[in-house]
């Protein structure tokens, strides 16, 4: 079904390649030439370079010198970096589950043969398509500004709002909200998954007198758990890499008081405004490591809650 599923099901084959396997060798490698150039030139070799650079103090202006693990040690005493990790973890671990719950909730509402499903599906999906744009981030800046739309509406109810974006306690919340607003894409994946659940399960449960909640808990959730897992893993991987919204909403600073300083934003500042590229490379590897660990934990934990019906 998914790249993820496919990857986890690949098995290593042993032994010599059969004649069949080598039949199209030449043609296949010719078709793959562009991809190979990209793979090595833009991904694998740069990965090696960045690993090397992470052990140097390279900057664009001067060639780097080997400084061993200094960059990695430095990260642990860099208060701003540790803070950026905290901000990113909050964003990922709060934003992703809330987004997925909205996606699942609406998908379930839409599933049961409701009229106008296509219309609602499109409406809910639109924010996902626009959410990554600078235009929407600009809109967000206005919405949650001290004289923004949100406070105008609150004023109608005689509630005095605050400068949501200029306040360090709420700024991150507005970006999490923007993330939740884009729940349409996982919702569509959930809808497709819901369609796969055989209707007879529900019919049987109804005959047995199961109420809506029980049907949801005992049929929908377990049957949908592979899709929930898939959305969750991809959601986590994706939101660790969020950048544009925090950058634009905070005017490129990660402020106020570093409260929206995402890890990626700090990496950008270190690497491309201070040109501390050795350090930025080390940060890139830390991000890869963190995402790898989270994905591994997810896969291990999935053994206890993901149900495969076959």
């Amino acid at each position: 079904m998914s790249a993820l599923g496919e990857l986890s099901q690949l098995r290593r084959k042993r032994g010599k390649p059969s004649k069949e396997e080598t039949k199209d060798n030449k043609a296949a490698y010719l078709f793959l030439v562009p991809w190979f150039i990209g793979l090595f030139g833009i991904t694998i070799i740069p990965m090696g370079m960045s690993l090397y650079l992470s052990f140097t103090d390279y900057s664009l202006i001067q060639p780097g010198e080997w400084i061993g693990i200094d960059n990695y040690v430095r990260m642990f005493s860099d208060a701003r970096l540790l803070n950026s990790l905290r901000v990113t973890f909050i964003y990922v671990l709060v934003g992703t589950p809330i987004q997925l719950m909205c996606a699942l909730g609406v998908a379930i509402l839409l599933d049961k043969g409701l009229k106008g499903v296509g219309f609602y599906r499109s409406v809910f999906y639109l924010p996902s398509l626009l959410g990554a744009s600078v235009a929407v981030a600009i809109l967000w800046r206005q919405l949650f500004g001290s004289v923004g739309l949100v406070n105008q509406v609150l004023a109608l109810f005689n509630i005095e709002g605050l400068g949501w974006i200029s306040n360090p306690d709420t700024a991150l919340g507005t970006i999490i909200l923007l993330h939740v607003w884009t729940f349409g894409a996982p919702m569509i994946i959930f809808l497709a998954g819901l369609r796969q659940i055989p209707v007879m399960y529900y019919e049987a449960a109804q005959v047995d007198g199961a109420n809506a909640w029980t049907r949801f808990r005992s049929i929908t959730l377990p049957m949908l758990s592979p899709i929930i897992f898939f959305n969750f893993v991809l959601g986590i991987i994706g939101s660790f890499q969020s950048f544009t919204q925090a950058f634009v909403v905070s005017g490129g600073t990660g402020g106020p008081a570093d409260s929206t300083m995402f890890f990626t934003l700090y990496l950008y500042q270190q690497g491309f405004t201070r040109f501390d590229m050795g350090y930025a490379s080390a940060m890139g590897w830390l991000l890869l490591l963190i995402i790898g660990i989270f994905t591994a934990i997810n896969f291990i934990a999935s053994k206890f809650w993901v149900f495969y019906d076959d």
């Binding site: 296949a28 833009i42 894409a185 890869l288």
Partner: protein, 316 residues
């Protein structure tokens, strides 16, 4: 006082009727259970509540966008006073002012974005479909290994390679040109689409290309004359997603396009926002709307492909 339930034997259909749920076959012979009418009533009530809830949440979700559209046609000071979306005056001046607010006209940024987007689509379609054909239909050594690597690159955070990529493009003297945003697309770096197309090709009947092969067609001909035409839906999905993503891409542009005459639309918007204070929210909104129109059009005309693409492969 408690009432004890007296267990009596009831048939399954009676049970269902008593609970007023799961009405199965209203046209079947025999007496209709009493609860049929109430069942219908209840179903209609739930359906109305559902629709009310869904319409309310749709409005709630889209309201900010509608409000931005309306506000872009209002004088700026009104933007900070008027939470409604009723338009009393129709100010086109925001658009005129925004269009010329930066060093160059907005048309230049639209042009810059268009060039990158068009070439990115062409590059992605060619390179990804070639790789996908090989992975889906050809047998070759280490296929499993390469396929696994391809899948892994989909999930690789690009932050781990941006520094060396920047150094590479800097040495090629590509900074301040759109090349770093275009050339990688010709190298199938959006591996996601390779996967999407592989999935699609696997669903096509093998007999078609095997027959062509027996007739002596080479791989190039099978790819060009059989696969590509059949792959149209997958190619459309890829084109639309590439369009939307490249059009909105901010990080790449931020890294590589520093001089104002190379800016893409998102970069121009961001600099517009930075250079002006609150006073110019009207023009800023106007240009934001301009930047969203192409994405919106892609959504209107391509949503069939977008939704299919997400549902079958799980793209964001």
């Amino acid at each position: 006082m408690t009432i004890k339930a007296t267990p009596t034997k009831t048939t399954a259909s009676e049970t269902r009727a008593l609970r007023g749920q799961n009405w199965v076959d209203p046209n079947a012979g025999g007496p209709k259970p009493r609860s049929y009418a109430s069942h219908l009533r209840r179903q209609r009530a739930t359906s109305i509540i559902k629709h009310a809830f869904l319409i309310a949440s749709s409005l709630f979700l889209l309201y900010p966008l509608l409000w931005m559209l309306v506000s872009s046609l209002r004088p700026t000071d009104e933007i900070f006073r008027e939470p409604g979306i009723l338009l009393r005056t129709f100010e086109i001046s925001n658009y005129i002012e925004g269009w010329t607010a930066l060093q160059d006209d907005f048309s230049l940024y639209l042009w810059n974005s268009t060039v990158i987007v068009v070439l990115a689509i062409v590059g992605t379609l060619i390179s990804c479909s070639m790789a996908a054909y090989a992975f889906a239909r050809l047998k070759f050594r280490f296929k499993g290994l390469w396929f696994a690597i391809m899948l892994m690159t989909i999930m690789l955070p690009f932050h781990v390679v941006i520094v060396p990529q920047y150094i590479l493009f800097n040495q090629l003297d590509w900074i301040n040109t759109p090349l770093p945003l275009i050339i990688p697309k010709f190298l199938a770096t959006d591996a996601f689409f390779v996967f999407l197309m592989v999935q699609f090709i696997r669903g096509l009947p093998r007999e078609l290309d095997e027959a062509a092969r027996l007739d002596g067609a080479g791989h190039l001909r099978i790819y060009l004359q059989i696969m590509l035409p059949l792959m149209t839906p997958a190619l459309a999905t890829t084109a639309i997603f590439t369009f939307v993503w490249t059009w909105s891409d901010f990080f790449g542009a931020l890294l590589y396009l520093n001089s104002p005459d190379t800016w893409t639309v998102p970069l121009a918007l961001r600099n517009f926002m930075d250079s002006q204070g609150k006073s110019s929210f009207g023009p800023l909104f106007a240009m934001s709307i301009v930047s969203l129109i192409p994405v919106f059009l892609a959504f209107i005309f391509g949503q069939r492909f977008l939704i299919k693409g997400i549902a079958t492969t799980g793209i964001k």
